[in-house]
Each structure stands twice: as C-alpha cells, then as structure tokens.
C-alpha cells in the first residue's frame, strides 16, 4: 500500500449550531482516518456560501489529484455543475445531505430526510393535539433545506384542523428566535404549540415562553437533535418531549464510508438515507453525543 490517496471534504462553514456540528464531526473524522491510514490524506475545506463552495471545489481539484470528494452542497442547482466537473476527472463523489440536481453524478449518497423531519414532527403534533389547535412556526434562512422541512410539516398539518397562525424567518438564530417568539406571544393570546425547525432556535423560543409565563403553550418542538434538547427529552420534559434527529455526524459516516474504498475494504456505492425517527425519552441515548458541540 504505497499509493497515496487524497480525499477532499467540502462543507459549509460553521455559521450556526448545526453546521458547527458538521465541521466538528468532519475534523474529527479527518484526524481519526489520517491516524488509522497514513496513506490517506483528508482535506477539510469550509465555505461560507454557494459561490465560495464552488471556488473551493475548483481550488481543491486544480491543486490536488483528488481520489474522492465528500461534499455537503449548499444548494442543489448551484453545485451540480461544479461537482460534475470534478467527477469528470474520475474522482469518486460522495454527496451528503442535499442531493444534486443530477443524481447520476454521485457514487455514494448519504442523507438525512428534511421532509421527514417536518412531517414526522407534524404527525406527532397532530396526534397529541387531537387534530386541532393553533400553532406558530419559526423557519430558518431561505434555503432548500428550510423549504423542505416547512413543506413536510405544513402538508401534514394542512390535512388536520390545526391552524398555523404564523410562519416567519428567524434565521436559525437563537436570538432572533427569542425575539420572534416574544412577538408571537404578544400577538396571539392562545398558542397551543410552537415548532422551530431547528433546535438552536428552539432554545430561544423556550426562553421567551418561560419569560412570558404562558401556560397555553403545551408543546415547543424543534429538530436536528441538538445536545441540549436531547438532554431535555431524556429528562422527560413535558413541553419538549421529542426531537427529530438530523445528525451532523452524517458527514463523518460519509467520510468513513468513502475512506473505506481506499483502505481495501468492501466497495460501497448507492444511497444511504438516514431516517428521521422521533427521538423519545426511550431512544434518546443513542442520539446523545456529550462531546459534540451540537
């Protein structure tokens, strides 16, 4: 095994909790793999926007002989062409989370299911509220991920008698979620439940609800399986009894699976879709990583 292999990992920069988790897991995987296989070099590169990610791809492929690329694309359309470009040099392509517009480019696909994150939460909520009530929703930043979660959620809710009072952006930001929730509470005298489509925002929401001392808010749910929220689930919190996993560690899994190609192990191809089962007090332990920043 004298041959050297280079695996490039292109991910979004740590701009909020979840992407922070992605960076964390990617860097950890890099260290572990490089320690385990001295002949494999992993290069992790973050980008703050789709444009920057395309630039990073160009840089990585122009200056390295890439054997594999693991990419968590910012958006589908914008990254499809550039990834295709990389693939045309014979590079093994692993796509994580967001699919490309043209799935034939990828060799391996590891993804969470954003629609399921929305719809599973909605199903649970419809069930618990008995099919009626009034709820408010906080969404992230205008991207496809956010779109899909909201879509999955609203499609289910629309089939019930539950009324969505309001949906506004809070930019996946705790602080803005806090502010937005304060305003929701001021405007709507009765709110049965809140859904923030990300646990980072949920923390802000909880703070606002606590401050207002509003007992009408029976459920406040998030998503993504953030450490602090899973702790609440484990502790059997009444208001936040569940979460949905969308583990940033999927990047690490993808890197391991890709590295396996070069470590002489079984060839892995195809799609691996992570489910978004509800995290409940019973199964919470398996989603809990105390060392992770997320």
């Amino acid at each position: 095994q004298d041959k050297e292999f280079t695996i490039a990992v292109s991910i979004p920069a740590a701009t909020h909790g979840w992407t922070g988790g992605v960076v964390y897991h990617a860097e950890r995987a890099e260290k572990e793999i490089e320690a385990a296989y001295p002949n494999i070099d992993v290069i992790v590169s973050t980008a703050a926007s789709a444009t920057a990610q395309v630039s990073a791809l160009e840089d990585l492929s122009a200056t390295n002989n890439l054997d594999a690329l693991v990419i968590l694309p910012f958006t589908s359309e914008e990254l499809t062409g550039p990834v295709e470009q990389v693939a045309s040099n014979g590079t093994f392509i692993t796509v994580v989370d967001r699919g490309l517009s043209d799935p034939s480019i990828q060799d391996l696909y590891v993804a969470g299911d954003n629609i399921a994150v929305g719809s599973n939460t909605a199903d649970w909520l419809v069930d618990k509220l008995g099919g009626e009530g009034e709820i408010v929703v906080l969404r992230g930043i205008p991207t496809v991920i956010d779109d899909e979660r909201i879509k999955g959620f609203t499609e289910v809710i629309d089939k019930s008698n539950i009324k969505i009072l309001d949906i506004q952006y809070a930019n996946w930001n705790q602080d803005e979620a806090f502010t937005l929730m304060q305003d929701y509470l001021a405007q709507y005298p009765n709110i049965d439940a809140v859904w923030a489509n990300d646990d980072d925002m949920l923390l802000g929401v909880l703070e606002a609800v606590d401050q207002a001392g509003r007992a009408d808010v029976k459920f406040a749910l998030g998503g993504n399986g953030m450490k602090q929220v899973i702790e609440m689930v484990k502790a059997g919190d009444e208001r936040t009894p569940i979460s949905t996993p969308y583990p940033p560690s999927m990047i690490a899994s993808a890197i391991y699976m890709t590295a396996a190609q070069f470590a002489g192990q079984a060839l892995m191809r195809g799609s691996f879709k992570l489910d978004a089962p509800l995290i409940t007090p019973e199964n919470a332990d398996q989603f809990y990583f105390p060392d992770s920043p997320f």
Binding site: G17, Y24, W172, D175, A186, Q187, Q228, P293
Partner: protein, 331 residues
C-alpha cells in the same frame, strides 16, 4: 462647506425650536402611533416592555458608536466583538464558579469589561497608529472576533454553567419597580454617555476631532488619543451590552450579535449623528434603536406582508423615515 451652512442653518434670533434634533423623536412618535393603529396588541404593557428591553442592546452599543462616529470613525466589529466578549465572559464564569460560586458572575462581568476595552483599544490603535481606514480595520477585526467565538464554541454553543443561571437571570428578566433591569442599565449608560459627551472636556474634544481633525490638532488636542479612547468606550459599551445579554439566552454561539453592527450604525444615524463626524446625539441614538426595534415588532404583529418581504418593508420604512426627517427639518 459654507454653502451647506447657508442652507441648513438659517437660524433666527432668540430660541428657535431645534427641529433637526427633535426629528428622531417625532419619527419615533409617528411609528408608535402607526403601530398602535395597526395592531391593538402593540400598546400592551407586555409587548412594549419586551420591545424596549430588546432595544437595550442596540442602544447601549449605540452610545459607544455615537462616540466613535462623532470622531469621524466607524466600527463594523461591534457585533462580533459582542459575541467574543460574551464567549470570554462565559468561559471565565464557568471556570470560576467552583471557586467563587455566584461571585463568578461579578468576576466574569469585570473580565468582560476589561476584554471589551482591550478589543476597542486594539481597533483604535490600529486605526490611529497605522493610519488605516476604520472601515477596513474593523471589517478585519470583525472577521477575527467572529472566528474566535466560533473557535471557542467549536462552532456550536457555549452555554453558561447551569448553577449560575438562576442567580444571573434577573439581570435580563428582572425589574425594579416595574422597569426591567436592561432598561435601567441602558438609562445609566446613556446618562453617562450624554454627560461625557456634552459636559466634559473629552466630549468637547470628540466633536472637535470629528468636525475638523486639523483644527483640533492645531489646538493641542491629541487627535489619535481622542479617537482611540472613543473606540475603547465603544468596547466598554459592547461589554455592558454583553453583560445584559448573557442571561437572556445563557449561551454564546457563532451567530451571537450577527449584523448588529449595521443596526447600531443605522440607529446612530437615524438618531441624528452625522456619519462624517462632528456631531453627536446620544438621546437620538436611543430613539433610533427604539425605532428599529419597533418596526421589526410591528412587522411581526401585522400579518400583512409575506414573510419573504419583511426585509423589504423594513428597509423602505427606514428610508422613508429618513426622508420625512429631512423634509421636516429642512423647513
């Protein structure tokens, strides 16, 4: 220069009403009235208290920004600096809790003020000693502070020790005879700021430097020192805002304080301080901060605009407010 004076200052004899400096308060009143008409919940005590408390951060940082802008400077790093200071403060508190118990909060606050002042000093020294545009320097330090907080929090969140939360919570959520503490703290900061700006020699020199740095220099004013000091004051204000902010969410994250710099500068300019320096309106800054926060609040309370267009409406309102401002004060 002189031609502008001619147009903007046709002062009469005796006491004329300073429309120019009243404008932000008039704008504030108009927006409050509009808010009340659009949504009846707007004037509820609860909502008003929320909004005023929320505007505390921008107002406090804005007081510092008023100093910086009055000297002709600009600080784009305040948002990141605030996150950075918050991070350091939380690390300190968490580290000291075992030894000091609740006193760790005080220690942390002290450290925050020192770190804030040092961050401001860094900005100020690079700008004055290196003679580089404040825009570029603080854009650079903005990236630096932001990177540090991301690093400290590992890209995730940096929560404050659970045991401190209860003791610290009142600093944000508590009140004194009905007035929330952040509002009281803002008041104190603004009063001190106004005193320093309008009643001390330093304040006099601040506006002199911003008005014409050469004249100030020829009058024996240490221009560099005054400018640097303004950045230090800005840093201290950021630290005070951070101290009020931590108990609100109990954590620092890489998104803490993001884009606050733009809000702060907007508040200061809406308040009547000139971006090119030489004029400082501390109370106007407070009005500006309130205006921004109320606009955002009313946007959420009314259900009229698509969530996609909220930013457009906010942007328009700010421009319209400034236009109204201009045309009323140009009378």
């Amino acid at each position: 220069m002189s031609s502008i004076d001619v147009r903007t200052a046709p002062k009469g004899e005796g006491v004329s009403i300073p429309w120019g400096s009243l404008a932000p308060f008039i704008a504030l009143a108009v927006i409050v009235i509009l808010g009340a008409t659009i949504n009846s919940n707007f004037l509820s005590t609860n909502n008003l208290l929320n909004v005023i408390t929320r505007s505390a951060f921008i107002a406090i940082i804005g007081v510092g920004a008023t100093f910086v802008i009055a000297t002709g400077g600009l600080d784009l790093s305040v948002g990141s600096m605030m996150a950075f200071v918050t991070g350091i403060m939380i690390l300190t508190m968490n580290g000291l809790t075992p030894a000091l118990g609740n006193w760790a909060i005080l220690a942390g606050a002290g450290v925050a003020v020192v770190v804030g002042a040092l961050c401001g000093l860094l900005n100020g020294l690079i700008i004055t000693v290196g003679r580089i545009e404040p825009f570029i320097v603080t854009l650079g330090t903005m990236g630096i502070f932001r990177a540090f907080i991301t690093f400290m929090s590992d890209g995730g969140s940096l929560p404050i020790d659970r045991s401190l939360r209860e003791a610290y919570r009142p600093v944000h959520f508590g009140d004194f005879v009905g007035v929330p503490y952040p509002v009281l703290i803002t008041l104190v900061v603004v009063l001190i700021g106004a005193f320093v700006l309008y009643r001390t020699k330093y304040g006099r020199r601040v506006t002199a430097v911003g008005s014409n740095a050469d004249v100030a220099r020829f009058s024996g004013v240490h221009v560099g020192r005054i400018r640097t000091m303004a950045f230090v004051i800005q840093g201290i204000c950021v630290a005070v805002a951070a101290i009020c902010y931590v108990p609100r969410l109990g954590a620092a994250t890489p998104t803490t304080g993001q884009l606050w710099e733009l809000q702060v500068i907007t508040a200061v300019v809406i308040g009547g301080t000139l971006l090119r320096g030489g004029k400082a309106r501390v109370w106007g800054t407070v009005a500006g901060a309130l205006i921004l926060e109320i606009i955002a609040n009313v946007m959420v309370l009314t259900d009229m605009v698509s969530e996609y267009l909220v930013a457009a409406v906010q942007g328009s309102i700010i421009i319209i407010a400034m236009l109204a401002h201009r045309f009323t004060s140009a009378r």
